[in-house]
């Protein structure tokens, strides 16, 4: 199976969807999930193929690299592809029954999945920019899908600013190297990208990609969009799509920037993100706003993990990203009925015990309580950071531990409200509908299965990270050995 289908199918589905809607009203329920399901099957088939035979590249239009555009298919990229498709599919369960704007939202959802797959698979800098724009534009549309135009336009301005900086960074890299192919750049980087121009380009790229990755200085859109967009969209953007930009940054760190300056820059932004995100989450008075700030903090953790050089960082970062991609969407789905002021949640366990228990389990996993996967993800991060023996990473450990304490404070405050307070007489709290709880239950099932599958998952992550951290594999897979001996 060719990995190009992963991008083509959702895009094709997105543009055919309006036509199908016009012709056949009955097909409209199934077509989105059908396309995504097909895509998921293809992704899993490619996963097994890659697991058996190793990473490979796909050449577009018959022009070999470095002239042509390539897709680089390895397990790391496929893992994130599967995460996006599966996450979107599960969140599809949580749509409202009587919503009329299906067609716009579903088209954009398919578009964002296609763009995301292209973003993680692409092995060409300019292609990364184009797919990043596809993802960005569809997320502006999704953010505005229920009439929250003001939040969306503020998001768009920041996003377009980021995209321009990303393009500027790519132009600078092209100016000093004369190529856009990642593998070719990996060959040239040790000579040409270590200077001031190369590092400047990285600063522009990291700020540009940082808008979607919710990195420290450019994440002001996060609380606004996540509190005004529908729960399903906040879950998708905050829990799943935001990690892909971080994965691209990781790829650039592995192939282009092995210097410590670039790693330390990402570490600094990650640490600042963790501090600001968690402190703001503690002061938030609204459940959704709290979750939005907490997702800034969690993505800061992933950034810290990815900034650790070598396979240890990739293992920790991937584990943290996958864990967050299970937990945060589930928490956001609960806010559809309960997205209120925190004080309104008093006595919520009397209204719906199931939802309160779901909240408790996910909150515990996010904090990192031992049997749950969140603990192992944070443990891997601390272990990886300790083993570097660099002072900056030891400081980051302190920040991560303090952030965990803050996280515990604000999550347990809500759990106490839910379980120990009496229900107010004036309370308007309703039990969430089963439809809304379904995605959360599926995510809970995945979480509990992974509790028992920690060990095989660890070994898989290990082999995946070792092959992903080696840039010579990337170069060998892309070029004939004769070209760059």
């Amino acid at each position: 199976m060719n990995a190009i289908w992963l991008v083509v199918l959702p895009l094709l589905g997105a543009f055919l969807l309006p036509l199908v809607y016009r012709e056949n009203i009955k097909l409209r329920i199934g077509i989105g999930p059908f396309v995504l399901g097909l895509n998921l099957i293809i992704a899993v088939m490619i996963w097994f193929d890659v697991a058996a035979n190793g990473a490979h590249t796909i050449v577009m239009g018959g022009f070999p690299a470095p002239l042509g555009i390539i897709f680089y298919v390895d397990q790391l990229a496929l893992l994130f592809v599967i995460m996006v498709i599966l996450g979107t599919l599960i969140l599809w369960l949580g749509k409202e029954k009587d919503y009329i704007g299906y067609i716009q939202e579903e088209t954009l959802l398919l578009l964002i999945v296609g763009g995301s797959c292209g973003l993680v698979l692409s092995g060409d800098l300019f292609n990364i920019y184009v797919f990043y724009e596809i993802v960005a534009v569809s997320s502006y549309g999704l953010a505005a899908s229920r009439g929250s135009y003001a939040a969306s336009v503020r998001f768009l301005i920041l996003g377009a600013f980021g995209s321009s900086l990303l393009l500027l960074g790519i132009a600078l890299i092209y100016a000093v190297t004369g190529t856009l192919n990642l593998a070719h750049l990996a060959v040239l980087a040790p000579q040409s990208l270590q200077g001031i121009v190369g590092v400047t380009a990285f600063v522009f790229i990291i700020i540009g990609l940082g808008v979607k990755a919710e990195l420290f200085p450019v994440n002001t859109w996060v609380p606004e969009v996540y509190t005004t967009a529908p729960a399903r969209i906040s879950a998708l953007l905050g829990g799943i799509v935001s990690k892909l930009a971080l994965l691209v940054i990781l790829r650039l760190l592995i192939t282009l920037y092995e210097s410590s300056a670039a790693h330390l820059l990402l570490l600094t932004l990650g640490v600042l993100g963790v501090i600001t995100g968690e402190l703001a989450a503690m002061r938030a008075t609204h459940l959704r706003q709290m979750l939005a700030y907490s997702s800034i903090g969690q993505l800061g953790l992933v950034a810290i993990a990815f900034s650790i050089p070598g396979p240890a960082g990739i293992i920790a970062g991937t584990a943290l990203a996958l864990h967050h991609a299970i937990v945060k969407p589930a928490l956001f789905m609960l806010t559809k009925a309960w997205g209120k002021q925190l004080s309104d949640l008093a006595g919520a366990s009397k209204v719906s015990l199931l939802s309160s228990l779901l909240f408790l389990v996910f909150a515990l996993s996010l904090i990192g309580i031992p049997p749950l996967p969140g603990f192992w993800a944070k443990f891997l991060l601390l272990k990886g950071a300790l083993e570097t023996n660099i002072a900056a990473y030891q400081m980051a450990i302190a920040v991560v531990l303090i952030a965990t304490v803050i996280e515990t404070t604000y999550f347990m405050r809500i759990v106490r409200l839910m379980f120990q307070e009496e229900l107010k007489k004036t309370s308007t709290l309703k039990a969430p509908a089963l439809q809304e709880l379904m995605p959360a239950c599926v995510f809970l099932a995945i979480l509990l299965i992974s509790v028992f599958a920690i060990k095989p998952m660890g070994t898989h992550l290990n082999t995946l990270a070792i092959s992903a951290a080696d840039k010579s594999v990337y170069i060998d897979q892309t070029f004939d050995k004769t070209l760059f001996p």
Binding site: Y149, L156, I157, F161, A171, T227, T228, Y293
Partner: protein, 137 residues
């Protein structure tokens, strides 16, 4: 030779000037239309920068003709700029469409006021700066 260096210098400083102007407008203004003009300037600056990268002195258009010996300009940045312009126009159109919708709904285009209105509507309070007092929840 000095003439071509002059052309490149003017082009580079033009690109840098546009980028800086764009960022200045983005940071400085609160009116959405002005901010979007800032974005347009920023994008134009980046595109001009890419075009300048492709420039070669006394070069011809990159089209293969038999017996041609003159140097060619670099075609790749041209292709990139073409794509970037199309993307830029689409994003600007979307931005203006959203601006119209925003104005119809809120009657203002001041970003600061809009941020407050968003916070009021969703029932959140804006969190900025150092807390002056700790409120009990």
């Amino acid at each position: 030779m000095t003439e071509t260096i002059g052309i490149q210098l003017v082009s580079y400083s033009g690109a840098m000037g546009l980028i800086l102007l764009g960022i200045f407008a983005l940071v400085n203004y609160e009116h959405l239309i002005r901010v979007i003009f800032g974005l347009i300037l920023l994008e134009a600056g980046v595109n001009l920068f890419l075009i300048t990268l492709a420039y070669r002195a006394d070069a011809v258009a990159p089209i293969m003709i038999e017996g041609q010996t003159a140097a060619m300009v670099d075609p790749i940045p041209h292709a990139l700029v073409l794509t970037a312009i199309v993307i830029g126009v689409a994003v600007q159109a979307l931005a203006l469409a959203l601006v119209i919708k925003t104005y119809q709904k809120y009657g203002t285009l001041n970003t600061r006021i809009l941020a407050q209105r968003i916070a009021e509507e969703s029932g959140t309070r804006m969190i900025e700066g150092i807390p002056t007092e700790v409120k009990k929840v």
